[in-house]
Amino acid sequence: MKIAIVDYGAGNLPSVERALRKLGAETERAVEPQQVASAGAIVLPGVGHFAAFVAGLRERNLTESLRAAHDSGVPILGICLGLQAMFASSEEAPGEPGLGFFPEEVSALPTNVKSPHIGWNQVRRVQESALLRGIPEDAYFYFAHSYAAPASAAPTVAACDHGVSFAAVIEHRNAKGSLFGVQFHPEKSGETGALVLRNFVESVRGERTESMT
């Protein structure tokens, strides 16, 4: 099964790629819609500005192909800005639509705490999580962001607090397929982060096998 890592023209793809390959996953950098369409699973990494990110996807005709891939059952993992892009919009770029898998708006972290939220933090489990399977409750994950999706969003399986409760891990399964998202950087979160990626790879391998039988 090939994992397409969406290349929207910026962002630190090599570290995500390296982390997945260490787990034995076959990866491909997807710059064109058909690469997204034919993938077994999709990883959507993102750093930087929400507007640049969604514009980068749109200019490469990847927005529609990501929506279509989800509709046809391809699991997607959004990392950091990639998670944020799964929501309808962001306060960082009013008027720029996200992928809209979830209806909420991504908001700026409050001004009473240090922002960006940079460093290693813990998360609070609120629902059963496939991505966090086998990871201790007190484990740390590396965050680097100034905006976040609300913890009250339906797919939130783990929340983090930094001035406000926000979605640290999201998971959503419907008749079409699975959506996963992490606000932290698993590729930068040491052994714990590698376990999150392994859980993703194993989870989608299981799903693809099921759907083929």
Binding site: I118, G119, Y140
Partner: protein, 254 residues
């Protein structure tokens, strides 16, 4: 749930080797950057900083190669910088595998560099490297590796850099650097209270107590040191255990 205070080893790199500046004696070789990076990654470092201290024009491609080799060893964040003058140089550092880029001299000369990098890569990718010396009751910012006084008040410049989009401050006390007399906690607390972004304290680290002080009294978000880690006089794991005992939240698992 607590945001952990970070321990960050720093590699000063010249011509592809980790070096340590020795007063009046030039540079001492401390090893291969990728080897040291691999060691720190395993020992529990929370992040790694790699600085090009030669920052010469011809050394640029060597430095990018060093970043690539170091990044391959890591599953923790990497910050790199030294002599970054243009947006394209910043991009090259990030594409080579760094997550954040530091700027100093060029940002003082042209503060728009911070805005440009921040708009392109996000505030979380832009670190202002702030080298300061005490001047009476305040501190003055220096550039060119501590050689040139800028006339800028350190706190005022830090605030401006943050308003332009710097997401972190790497604060080095030139007075304390290399003295092993401890971090300048007064300076760190002053800058931490001035800006809304995390502050990484640097310069003067020697004992575990110095690290406890800079977190508890200096309100630092992270502490950086070089030679005490390279020389293996202090292990990161032992330091973190000590800090946890002093009530400083640290990441002890990997």
């Amino acid at each position: 749930m607590t945001l952990a205070r970070r321990i960050i080893p720093c590699l000063d790199v010249d011509a592809g080797r980790v070096v340590k500046g020795v007063e009046f004696q030039g540079l001492r070789d401390m090893g291969d950057p990728a080897e040291l990076a691999a060691r720190y990654n395993v020992e529990g470092a929370d992040e790694l900083v790699v600085l090009d201290i030669s920052a010469s024009h011809q050394g640029r491609s060597t430095f990018l190669d060093t970043i690539r080799r170091v990044a391959e060893q890591l599953n923790i964040p990497l910050t790199a910088g030294g002599g970054i003058r243009k947006m394209e140089e910043g991009r090259a550092v990030l594409l080579a595998g760094a997550d954040k880029v530091t700027v100093n001299t060029a940002a003082v000369q042209r503060p728009e560099l911070i805005s440009e990098l921040s708009q392109q890569f996000g505030a979380q990718a832009v670190v202002l490297s702030l080298d300061v010396k005490r001047k009476g009751d305040s501190w003055e910012a220096y550039t060119r590796g501590g050689r040139d006084a800028t006339g800028l008040d350190a706190a005022a410049w830090a605030a401006e850099a943050v308003s332009r989009g710097a997401g972190e401050i790497l604060l080095t006390s030139i007075d304390r650097d290399g003295t092993c007399s401890g971090f300048d906690c007064e300076l760190t607390a002053k800058i931490a209270a001035t800006v809304s972004v995390p502050v990484i304290a640097s310069g003067g680290a020697s004992t575990f107590e110095d690290f406890a002080d800079v977190f508890l009294k200096g309100c630092a978000d992270a502490a950086l040191a070089a030679s005490i880690f390279h020389m293996e006089t202090q292990s990161i794991a032992a330091l973190k255990k000590f800090l946890a005992g002093r009530g400083v939240p640290v990441r002890t698992s990997r």
